[in-house]
């Protein structure tokens, strides 16, 4: 459908049955309908029968509406949330193997320090760094390391969670009619303000 709003990036959280074939159902849906996934990450939730996927998709409002509806239509999908609609935290981790000749070793460590990146492997000629953060931060560190010569770069894809005290998986449990231990009372009143780091 045409005349939608400007295309923009959406971060969508999808709770699915932790079953064989689910990932390919989701990936197949995107390829069959011509939507583009910018990143996708999957992992088990606290409940081992449920997995959580974080998808980053670009599209106008109509495309995103269809993406969400089509995801819902998959039998194994339990819940779909567009996190971009609410206040949320997004993170991505990268592992980067960068050339580190003697003359640049200190400089690279300084950059790592600025971005709170960790050195996870060292050789006489390379450093492997681990960094975590928002997309813009990851882009920045990659750009700063690029001049030294990046040997290899691995990105996890985004994971995201809504800010605030409300739990998304808890809601699902209620929806599924599953009893659950009430969460221990918070010592301080919950704050929905959150913070940026």
């Amino acid at each position: 459908m045409q005349n939608g709003s400007e295309p923009r990036k959406h971060t969508i959280a999808v709770l699915v049955e932790n079953r064989f074939g689910v990932l390919s159902r989701v990936a197949g849906l995107f390829s069959a309908r011509g939507y583009n996934i910018e990143s996708l990450s999957v992992g088990e939730t606290l409940d081992p029968t449920v997995s959580r996927m974080t998808l980053v998709v670009r599209g106008d409002e109509f495309v995103i509406e269809q993406v969400i509806k089509q995801l819902h239509k998959l039998i194994d999908v339990i819940k779909v949330t567009d996190l971009s609609e609410e206040n949320h935290v997004e993170r991505e981790m990268i592992l980067v193997k960068v050339n580190a000749e003697r003359t640049f070793r200190a400089e690279i460590l300084r950059i790592a320090d600025i971005f709170r990146a960790k050195v996870v492997d060292v050789t006489p000629v390379t450093y492997t760094l681990e960094a975590t953060g928002e997309e813009s931060k990851m882009t920045a560190i990659i750009e700063l390391l690029r001049p030294f010569g990046i040997q290899e770069l691995v990105r996890t894809g985004k994971v995201a969670i809504a800010r605030g005290s409300k739990s998304r998986t808890r809601k699902v449990d209620e929806k599924l009619g599953k009893a659950r231990e009430p969460a221990p009372p918070l010592k301080e009143p919950a704050r929905d303000i959150g913070f940026e780091d």
């Binding site: 459908m1 074939g21 039998i75 999908v77 009619g177």
Partner: protein, 584 residues
């Protein structure tokens, strides 16, 4: 109780109330066929190609409202079945298809007749299962039937590895299905229904646009009640034919690419379009920007993803068509007690007059010929001779559109056609399934000569299983619809459309043990049909029709519905049609 997987499979079908299975055996499903040998109460109909098993299940399902079942083996059988699955998926027909699979320890080893069945059918089914553990067999079959029949219906595929069928497992059929991730919405939102009622009552030029969903949810009575209560004209899609009687004074018949002029003009000029179980398919809308541009659109559909997919909907109501319409009628009755403003009354009168005028000026028409059989005439005579009471199945192409235009539909679930996928060869195997479900009724397969040969091997099934389907082949020696497009849009550059070399359909029918009849002149049409309908057993009528007849009206693909071509166009119109091609 411990049973083999094969026996469990059969017990599950029995518990689901399955009476007929359409199938074709092979290595991986041999354990099932062995168990079937002395299993009472289940009729197996042996088809001659696996796609036919799927189509037969579709025909069974569409005309009975129950889930159709197909059973085939692994590898090539499963890939043959794919066309039928996609066909059922696009037309929302509930079937459950079972395929064999190599034993679990061989999966992925490129074993003989192995294919990644669930990988292949994932995108053409509502859901699919690979049964890796025999303890999951009964629950998965239960879920398969449940998923196929509920919500927006569709095909479900279950892949059965041979070792699962051979080994013994504890059998217990689950009473209930609970799928935490699958809860279709049946009841419409009361607020939305109220909004829709108000919109319908203030509309000056309303139209009901009814699709196959109205048939799936058995809502045709409710459609008729709503139409009569509010005096709103009704147009149906190809899949919706039969949901509203063609001869009802409010009927506008079919809309879209080959719909009636009055249906398309009414939709184009309407100010309130009420879509019921329809999906705004491109063959209905034409150019979307120019589809019902002034209308407030109310869309009743059980599938939320159908809403605002192609056309922006103003009042969406997610729910089962029948339940929503029942509530909507109640709501409208309540509102009507408070009276309808005279201004609306007056506008409605003018609207009815306007539609009557379109209808009178541009009815469906064709030129009669004393020498050559016009295909439209054949449809009219089939309609007359059966009094609209037959179960009609078609292939895909020109004959399908003529049947849709000229057959006078009276009842729902009496029309099977491949709407979404346009599967040539759909006719004969589907008719076979329909006849199996309704042994005492007249089943007519209206087919094309191009379409028929794609599955003509099923004549053997008809003969062997005593299924007296009457096939009427509209034989113009062409892939007629393709020829028509090449004529109108591609400057008469006919390429690869002439199929007049045969076969001789009378001899072909006889070779399979069926009766063959040929008609070559208009005067022979009625006697040929009468003979066909009164002859016991399967019959094929070879109707030699006008080779160059075209289907009109016609909206060239990508064009606007209001710019229909009403009769054989001259050069200028053809040039314009060629230009309007937007690539599909």
């Amino acid at each position: 109780m411990k049973l083999t997987g094969a026996r469990i499979f059969l017990e599950c079908l029995k518990r689901e109330g399955v009476d007929i299975v359409f199938g074709l055996p092979g290595g991986a499903v041999l354990p099932i066929y062995d168990a079937l040998y002395d299993f009472p109460g289940l009729r197996h109909i042996l088809v001659r190609q696996e796609a036919a098993a799927g189509h037969a299940a579709e025909g069974y399902s569409r005309t009975t409202g129950r889930v159709g079942v197909a059973l085939v083996t692994s590898g090539p059988a499963a890939t043959n079945l794919v066309t039928a699955l996609q066909d059922a998926y696009m037309d929302s027909i509930p079937i459950v298809a079972f395929t064999g699979q190599v034993p679990t320890h061989l999966i992925g080893n490129d074993a003989f007749q192995e294919a990644d069945n669930v990988g292949i059918t994932r995108s053409c089914t509502k859901h699919n299962f690979l049964v890796k553990d025999g303890n999951d067999l009964a629950p998965m079959i239960k879920e398969a039937f449940y998923i196929a029949a509920t919500g927006r219906p569709g095909p479900v595929h279950v892949d059965l590895p041979k070792d699962v069928l051979v080994k013994e497992w504890l059998f217990e059929y689950p009473e209930k299905v609970h799928l935490r991730s699958y809860n279709p919405t049946y009841e419409g939102h009361p607020g939305q229904i109220k909004k829709a009622a108000k919109s319908i009552l203030r509309a000056k030029r309303p139209v009901l646009y009814v699709g196959g969903g109205a048939i799936s949810s058995d809502a045709s009575e409710e459609v008729q009640r709503l139409a009569e209560l509010t005096q709103i004209p009704v147009t149906t899609t190809l899949m919706g034919l039969g949901a509203f009687p063609s001869e009802h004074p409010l009927s506008l018949e079919m809309l879209g690419m080959h719909g009636t002029y009055y249906a398309n003009m009414a939709v184009h000029n309407s100010d309130c379009l009420i879509a019921v179980g329809a999906r705004f398919d491109d063959r209905v809308t034409g150019k979307v920007e120019l589809f019902a541009p002034q209308a407030e659109i109310i869309h009743i559909d059980i599938d939320p993803s159908s809403i605002s997919k192609n056309i922006k909907v103003h009042i969406p109501i997610v729910g089962d068509a029948r339940r929503v319409l029942t509530k909507l009628v109640e709501e409208i009755e309540k509102e009507m007690r408070e009276g309808v403003p005279s201004i609306v009354r007056e506008a409605r009168k003018q609207w009815a007059e306007q539609i009557a005028d379109w209808r009178a000026r541009f009815p469906l028409r064709y030129d009669w010929d004393d020498e050559v059989i016009k295909p439209q005439y054949v449809m009219q005579e089939i309609s007359n001779l059966t009094r609209g009471e037959a179960l009609i199945v078609t292939g895909v192409g020109q004959h399908q559109m003529w049947a849709a235009q000229y057959y006078r539909f009276k009842h729902p679930r009496a029309w099977c056609t491949s709407g979404g996928l346009g599967t040539m060869g759909y006719g004969l195997p589907t008719a076979l399934g329909v006849q199996a479900a309704h042994p005492d009724r007249l089943v007519v397969n209206i087919d094309g000569d191009g379409s028929f040969v794609m599955n003509s091997q099923e004549l053997a099934t008809l003969y062997e299983s005593r299924l007296p389907v009457k096939t009427v082949i509209i034989n113009n020696g062409y892939h007629g619809m393709v020829r028509q497009w090449q004529e109108i849009i591609y400057k008469e550059r006919y390429c690869a459309v002439d199929v007049s070399s045969g076969p001789d359909f009378v001899k072909l029918a006889e070779a399979y043990g069926c009766v063959g009849i040929r008609a070559t002149k208009p005067s022979e049409v009625v006697p040929a049909l009468e003979k066909a309908f009164s002859t016991p057993g399967p019959v094929v009528v070879d109707m030699m029709v006008d080779r160059e007849e075209d289907v009109f009206p016609m909206v060239p693909a990508g064009g606007a519905n209001k710019d229909m071509i009403l009769e054989r166009p001259n050069k200028e119109v053809k040039a314009k049609a060629a230009k309007s091609q937007t690539g599909f």
